[in-house]
Point group: C2
Chain length 165, copies 2
Amino acid sequence: MSATNIVPVGFAQHDHSACIEDAIAAAETRCENERLRLTPVRRKVLEFLLREHRALGAYEILDLLREVGFGSQPPVAYRALDFLVAHGFVHKLERLNAFVACAHPGQTHSPAFMICRLCDTVAETQSAPTSGALGAAARAAGFRVERTVVEAEGVCPACATKTGS
Amino acid sequence: MSATNIVPVGFAQHDHSACIEDAIAAAETRCENERLRLTPVRRKVLEFLLREHRALGAYEILDLLREVGFGSQPPVAYRALDFLVAHGFVHKLERLNAFVACAHPGQTHSPAFMICRLCDTVAETQSAPTSGALGAAARAAGFRVERTVVEAEGVCPACATKTGS
DNA sequence: AACTGAAATGCAATAACATAACAAGAAAGG
DNA sequence: CCTTTCTTGTTATGTTATTGCATTTCAGTT
């Protein structure tokens, strides 16, 4: 992994239309390889999340699904999200009860997030759960860590500049 | 801070009645010093959380409040919890949408939690948000971290033993 | 092509979590 | 005592998430 892979992209400009296409294509490839089914609903949900490039609530996603003619009951969205989260295409932000497309698809990762409380922009980066204070505490306690939620709330560079703080 | 302070207590036996009394007394002292009002409802909620020594949902707390004669509408519980969380007596577990009494009252801290997915026991420890991968990413991105959510999900020692895994 | 079992979807209902808005009461400070 | 502020009680509503069940679709097999 090169050093640039761990630089968050959420607070920077980038070629967005290409990033969507690439991400969809990568997801398709991976689903084929692993015999997973990227069905129309699932694909559409992933596409919405990539397009918006921000955290969306399940009901926002549901509204978008309705607009394009899919079922509009909550389970439709939640099931698609469950699939996408289970396979690492999407992450859930526990702090916001919302979902974002994974910014580092394909890499095994323990994601960590920076969430701007002013503009709600989210940047994904990597955490290292087994090193650091938490890993040490878990080893000391005999706790087996299977998954970590790491979310930092604060102010992103753009908002810090705007508000002059 | 001595090394023993970072050892989680959530997976170990301890003198529980003493720990409740001490924590309540400490909260009272601190509220007096800081001109905070530990009102009957707030005190009772803190007491419930200390007594149960596990994460309780707001509606579980509400049921307990009802049983002892307080108002039983959601805002009653949420307001007490808001106060207790704001002043560090209680933490919210974003992963569970539930609340636990702080295990390290008085210390300034960025809490981190280990949550057993089998028995729901929660142990609190310390995280070091500014060091480690997340801190480095935040500095690199120019993101100002104000608060961190660090929650590890996994299996506690007791459940690992029970299930033989 | 028909059969079968597993997976996915559609849908209705409901559960679980959380807040807004306003009236009434209690405490602190003058 | 009076005013201001904080706290509580209550009604109503908003938001997030799941359960259960019937139906359809899909992959693999006959």
